[in-house]
Structures are given as C-alpha cells and as structure tokens.
Symmetry: C2
Subunit: 204 residues, 2 copies
C-alpha cells in the first residue's frame, strides 16, 4: 500500500486528487494538508511514501516545505504539482530534492501513474514539465559573470548606474562597462530590456 500525503491550499484540489487516487488499487491518501507548515508536520506524523506538493502556497513555499520534509526523512518521495509558466520555481523545487512533477491539468491516470512511479523511485516527469525544465536550462546559459548578474539584478530593481555604483562601492563607470557587457550577452540593447530580461529570468 502506497501511503500518500496531499499538500495544497485549495480544498477543491485536495478533494479532487483524493477522489482520483481513491479509485486506484494499492494507494491510500493518509492525510492532506492545507499549507506548507502543516504539510511538514503531517509528513512527520503520517509517514507517507509519496507527497503530492503544491508549489504556490501562502505560508510555506512548496520548495521550502520539500526541503524540510526531506531533511526529516529522505526516504520520502516528493512530487511537485505545478501550473504552467513558473520555470524558476520548478528549478527551485528540483534543487530542493523533489522527485518529479505533475502539471495541475494532468488526467487521473497520469496522477496515479506518477504516484506509483515515485513510490518505485522513478522520476515521474511530466513530459511537458520536462520541456519547461529543459527550455529553462537552455535559456539560462548566458554565461554571465557574478558581477554582471549582480548588476542586472539591481538594474531590474530600477536603480540608476550611480546608485548601483554606490551600493556596490565601485565606480559608476565600471557599472556602465559591466552592464554593457551583460547586455551584449543577453541580447539586450539597453538597461530597460536588460531589466525586463532579468525579471523574466527569475533574476528578480
């Protein structure tokens, strides 16, 4: 019997997943939590084999909750539930040790299959989610210097070169030159495009 813990702040989604899983053999939903903190607590007390974890939650972020659960028991398999379009968070969850992903619009069979795969130690990567991850990695490669990344971040915060220079304790000329280099690498023609790029790239 595969013991499953659901963590999602949407009661309707929890109910839906539960009914999807309840009709499958060999699975049982042993608990469900409405938030990240509760999820961590319940993971400790209910000892699930697989956790289905939402990424966006009010109290404790899905990635953080995943980290906490795995820190307490690294035998648990965490499968992350995600909507489209949050590449940065998908990567973050991977880093946190999530075993796989499931898109929220998955069909019941997919969900069941993913839970079984996770329990077996396989990585149930939704093909579409996998594409997200790959494309995210493909889009990251602008091999930016640490300084360049730093400056881009500050640009994306709306700061002028002088302010950035002051904050970093360097010359505003250096900021210019470095930003210029960064722009060339990421394909931006000016600071505004650079700022927008940084935003989209989760370099917020």
């Amino acid at each position: 019997m595969i013991r499953v813990l659901l963590v999602d702040d949407h009661p309707a989604l929890r109910a839906g997943l539960e009914s999807m899983l309840s009709v499958a053999d060999g699975l049982e939903v042993v608990a469900s939590a409405a938030g990240g903190r509760e999820g961590v607590t319940l993971a400790a007390s209910s000892r699930p084999d697989v956790v289905l974890m939402d990424l966006e939650m009010p109290d404790l972020d899905g990635a953080a909750a995943t980290r906490a659960i795995l820190a307490a028991d690294d035998g648990v398999r965490v499968v992350v539930l995600t909507s489209f379009g949050d590449r940065p968070r998908i990567l973050e969850a991977l880093d946190a040790g999530a075993t796989g992903y499931l898109l929220k619009d998955a069909e019941p069979e997919e969900v069941v299959r993913a839970v079984r795969a996770a329990a077996n130690g396989d990585a149930p990567l939704d093909p579409r989610a996998a594409r997200e991850v790959l494309s995210a990695q493909r889009e990251t490669p602008p091999d930016l210097t640490e300084r360049e990344r730093e400056i881009l971040t500050l640009v994306a915060a709306g700061h002028a070169n002088k302010v950035i220079a002051l904050r970093l304790g360097i010359s505003h000329k250096t900021v210019r030159n470095t930003l210029s280099a960064a722009c060339r690498k990421i394909g931006a023609t000016d600071r505004t495009q650079a700022a927008l790029w940084a935003q989209r790239s989760g370099l917020a």
Copy 2:
C-alpha cells in the same frame, strides 16, 4: 434541483468540486468541461442553472466564455473561480456579467453556499475576492491617459522612444514628453522603472 456545469482545465479541480457538490442536497453536476469552448457548448446542451467557471484557461478565456454563455442564455448564473492576485481579470469577468466569485481555496461549504446563492439570484462574492476588487480599484487610480498607457506598454516591451514614435506615427519628442508625464504619475524616475511598473500592473 440546481443543475451545475463545471468549467476548468484541471481535471483534479473538476473532480474535487464535483465531490464537494455531490454530497450536498438539491445540487447536481450535470456536466463538466475542460476548456472555455467546450464550456460554451455544454452550457447550451446541458442547460445548467449555475456555471462554475475557471478564469485561466488555455483555449477560451473565462471572461470570454462567460460572455458567450450569457449571450446564448442570460438566465444562467456564472460564478467565477479565481486564484489570488489577478485583479484585472476579476474586473474583466465582472464586466462579462459574472454573478459572483469564488476563491479556489474556498472550503466545501463555501462552494455549496455560493452555488445556492447564485441559483437564487444572489451574488456570492467571496469577502476576500471583494477586497481584491476594491483594492484593485484603489490601486488603479494612476489616472493615465490612453496614450500614456499605450506608450508605457511599448516601453515595457523594451522599445526605445524612436521606435515607439515610429510605431505610433508621432514625433519622438512627443513620446518623451508623454512618457515623462506618465512617469510622474506612476512614481517612476525613468523608463526602466516605468517598464517594470507596467509589467507588474498587468499592463504587459
């Protein structure tokens, strides 16, 4: 018997809502659709009293679907399902004629209550959703001119003044002046901050 149609692209959410509603008396889920277009079709064929409609959907937007359904039969009550933080879409759905809102993290009793209220012709406004609406109106007030909004949008696309001027068929001097005015209104000191503001404000 109140006939309910579910429209949401997440199978799990549909299943959850269905199980939530199935335990209540006097309600029956007569159909469920995975997309806006299908929702419009099923609304015509299954003649529901109340439609629970997701806002974010791949094919046909929730607001658009609402409009279409009401155009075919204005006796239907559409209750919109929304997550937090999409003020613009909430307002759009209101314009489209939605009767009320429900946040996706609503408890089962809330959902049932909302459906009953909608069937009665009441407006089941989730108190938190209502706050969203109000705060949306409070946050919008940068009373920007149509032109200013237009230019901000183009700035947020990363265009330079000259390009914007060309695209709008006006002088780049006018673009400057207009953007300058817009910046003052939204509290931005330069185009970069303006672009980021426009992004955040859904003026993408």
